[in-house]
Each structure stands twice: as C-alpha cells, then as structure tokens.
C-alpha cells in the first residue's frame, strides 16, 4: 500500500534541511500548500458533484439532463458558475450587514473544515487529531450557526422561519450522527481518523463487517442523519420552494447564494466521505484473505478506493433524495426523536455489549 507520508516527510525535510528553513517558515509554507490543495480539491469535487447531481436527478426523473453546453453537457457547470460570478451582490435594506456577510463564510468554513478531515490516502490525512471524530462534529456545527445567522440577518420573516427550521433539524440530527460515530469509536478504540481507518485494513476488517449488525444499523442511521444534516431531501424543508421560496438564503444573490449552494453539495460529499471513513474503511482496499486477490487490490491507490466508495455513497444519497417526498417539520422531528435517536442509543449499547464480549470479527 502506497504511503503518502513518504512524500510529506520528503517535502518536510526538503524545506528544513536542504533549504535550511526554520520551524516558522516550514510550517507556514506547508500550511499554505495544504490549504491550496484542499481548496482546489473542494472546487473540483464541487464541479463534479453538481454535474453528477444534475445528471443523476435527470435520470431518476426519466429525463437526460443538461446536454447543450459542451459534450453531453459537461461544461454546463462552468457556465453556471460564470453566470453566478457576474451576478450583482446586493444587501437588503436594514439587514444586519456584518452578520449578513459573515454567514456564508461560516457555512463554507464549516464545510471546508470537515472536508479537511477526510482521509484521502494512507498518510494523506490533513487534520488528524487524537480527538478527530469529536472535532469533526464540533466543526460541522459551525454550519448550523451560519445557516441560522443568515436567516436572522436577512431582515426577512420567511428566512428566519426557515433558518429556525433548518437549525432545529440540524441540531436534532447531529445527535444521532454523533452517537453513530461514537459506536464506531467503541469498536475501533480510537478517535483518531487515521487510527480508525488503520484498524479497518486487512481481510474483512471494514467496520461494517467487523461490527456486523450494530455497525450496519449505525451505518443506516448515519446515512439518514447525514442526509438531514446536509439539509438535503427528503429533509430539505429549510428551502421548501413552495412555502419559503428558498429558505434561509432567500436574500442572498450572486456568490453569497453560491456559497450556500457549494456548501450544500460539499456537505453531501463530506457526509459520504465520513460514512466511507468510519464504516467502509476509508482508503482501505477490499481484502478477502486470499493472497493474490489482496495484493492486487493493494496495488490500487488508496485515493481511488476512497473516492470510489465515497461516490457510491453519494449516489446512494442522491437516489434517496430523488425518491422520497419532503417531510413536514413535525415529521422530521418525530423521525429523529422517536425513532432514530432511540435506535442509535440501542446501537450504542449493542455495540458496547458486542465489543465487551468479543462478538466482533476484529482480527
């Protein structure tokens, strides 16, 4: 398995010993480079996701989607971005200017923040704290703040209403999300993202196989809660077009709105990426315990595994989104508090029992 930390260490020593830079400069340069890489990756994924969403949605609705701009519509996203960039940005009268401008950045910051936690390859985790899982949930909740501030600062009653709905929904579902993550932590015994992935290498060691029944349940709950967390259908009542026009970002134009749009799509990817990391083994390849097959699989780079698995989950979430009708706000809260939340607590207990008695397939 290719280890990306070789490159990272080589680059680090290049700066430190070959160029003789001090701690400050080395870290600064590395931070800037990594930051750039993350933002570029973010943008590229956004383009892919938006295109994918449009095509997948079209196919589910028995249409063919964009085909005009570029071959098979591939340049459509660029045209859309260009359109959005040249739109005028204006502020609503009597809006709270500071908060109004701050909100999109909070949302995008939360999104990029959680994005940076994803393990792209062996040794290519950008943020890898020993409390990684906790930090992911903590950073992702900045997004709730952004959404709420956006609605509040817009000087628009509908936006406030929608922001409250969005906040209620996101805060509620974050609970089940967190509990599912904790059940994975119980299984692997670490909160570090790299540690969690590391423990999933080897034959049949993905958590979903390791933890069997509780892990599969946790995975399902995670997908549902994640979908709600990303504010996507069937949980997209924050932007119920028919009742609230566009919800908390009604008053945003141009790139202000673009940021929300971007964050929404990338949150979809972040959720899929996290589901991949926690339950489907991150960059870990499929190993089934047969020598030849395993070495062959190990030759495929980790990033391919990671992206492949993440996009499978993305497709799964899109399938769900374009199938189910939107829920009412009371139904959303009922689903969370009456079904998902108790279920995730049961999963937690079940997982603990399984781990305590050694009823798992951990190697």
């Amino acid at each position: 398995m290719f280890d990306f930390s070789i490159i990272a260490n080589w680059f680090d020593s290049l700066l430190r010993t070959t160029l003789g830079l001090g701690d400050f400069w080395t870290i600064l340069i590395e931070c800037v480079l990594v930051g750039l890489a993350i933002i570029i990756g973010y943008a590229v994924l956004a383009i892919i996701l938006i295109f994918m969403e449009r095509k997948v949605c079209a196919y589910f609705q028995c249409r063919i989607g964009p085909v005009r701009v570029g071959w098979w519509g591939t340049l459509q996203v660029f045209a859309d971005v260009l359109k959005m960039l040249i739109k005028e940005i204006f502020v609503v009268d009597k809006a709270d200017k500071l908060l109004y401008y701050l909100a999109p950045f909070l949302v995008i910051a939360a999104s990029i923040g959680t994005f940076s936690f994803l393990p792209w390859n062996k040794g290519a985790e950008v943020l890898d704290f020993n409390v990684g899982v906790f930090l992911v949930t903590a950073i992702s909740s900045i997004g709730v703040l952004g959404v709420f501030i956006a609605g509040w600062a817009s000087n628009n009653k509908y936006s406030v209403l929608s922001a409250m709905r969005a906040a209620v929904q996101m805060i509620s579902y974050e609970l089940s999300l967190g509990i599912c993550l904790i059940s994975a932590v119980i299984l692997t015994g670490t909160m570090q993202i790299s540690g969690i992935v590391e423990s999933q290498t080897g034959p049949w060691q993905w958590l979903i196989f390791q933890g069997h029944i509780p892990a599969i349940l946790a995975f399902l709950v995670f997908l549902i809660a994640g979908n709600a967390e990303a504010n996507r259908g069937p949980f997209d009542l924050a932007e119920a077009e028919s009742e609230l026009t566009a919800g908390y970002h009604t008053e945003y134009s141009g790139m202000g709105f673009g940021f929300y749009y971007l964050a929404e799509y990338l949150n979809l990817f972040v959720i899929s990426g996290l589901a991949t990391t926690i339950f489907l083994g991150g960059w870990a390849p499929i190993n089934i315990g047969i020598e030849g097959f395993d070495t062959l699989m190990n030759y495929i780079p980790g990033i391919v595994w990671f992206l492949g698995k993440a996009f499978v989950v993305v497709f799964l979430l899109m399938w769900i989104r374009w199938t189910f009708p939107r829920l009412r706000v009371d139904q959303i809260l009922k689903l969370e508090w009456k079904y998902l939340m108790p279920l995730s607590l049961v999963i937690l207990v079940l997982m603990t029992v399984c781990v305590a008695f050694g009823w798992t397939f951990t190697a």
Binding site: I64, V67, W319, W322, T323, K338, Y339
Partner: protein
Amino acid sequence: MENKQSYFGEIGAAFKTLTTGLKTTMKEYFTPKSTEQYPENRKTTLHIAKRHRGRLVFKRDESENYKCVACLMCEKACPNGTIRISSEMQTDPETGRKKRQLLDYQYDLGDCMFCNLCVNACNFDAIEFTNDFENAVFDRSQLVIHLNEEVYKGGSLPNVIDGGAEWQVGTFNTKTK
C-alpha cells in the same frame, strides 16, 4: 386518513413503502429516456401527439369551405373571451330565407388556454385543434388570428399535423437535418 399502528408496525410499514419507492426510481433510472432534442430534430424525428392542442383552426372540406354558421356557441363557451365573432343577417336571393353569415372569426391565441371547450360546444363540427405548436412571434398582435380568412394547410414543419415522425424511445432523437 388516520391509520393507527403500533410503534414497530409503523417502522415496518415505512420500510416497506420506502423500498417500494426506491425500487421504482431505480427502474426509472435505467429505462431508456424519450427526451426529444428539439429544435435539432424539428424536421427529422420530431414527434408530436396528434391530440396535442397547439392552436385552433377551422375544419375545411375539399373545396376549402368552412362549416361555421356563426351560431356563437363557441364564443359563449369560451371562458376568457378568446373568440370574437361578428356576423350579419343575409337574405338568400333564391329562397328569400334569412340566414346568419359569418363576417369575422377572431381567435386570440395569446388569450387561449387550450381548454377545448369551444370545440366541444360547436354543434357543426367546424373547429378543431391542430398540434402545430410553433406559435412564437415577436408581437402580441400577430397572435390574433382570423380563422375564416386563413386556409390552414399544416404549419411550419413537414407533416406535423399527422404527428410527425414515429415516437421513438431511447434514441434521444438528436438527428438533425
């Protein structure tokens, strides 16, 4: 509809309906799409159902006579005043009987909502809808059509009144001419 079910019964029912939904959409995902690539295909593979209501026309016989007798039934039936008929009483020189004669049958395509009530109201089978749908013009006033003055012989596209090309599924109908 109030269906009282137990806690777990509800979960079971939910799972059942949700998987049905997922199955349906997955099937839809793989069915061939029948999207038409208009306007590329407007002269080649364009299919437009015969019953599509594009605009109102007079039915004419071989010698291009219309059957309208200016009875005003369609004008009365029309909910939004799309049809305006003016007529006068004329005396037939041979029989000496008085008869209503159509002077002007004005149909404002811009007002019509294609409800077909006028066609249903007509007792003389004088009007019908054609599926010719390319009605866009740059000026509203051009949409006011005098049906008695025009002799409608199919629209801008070849054999569109007969439904155009065969309806094809899964080919995207992109063929241009």
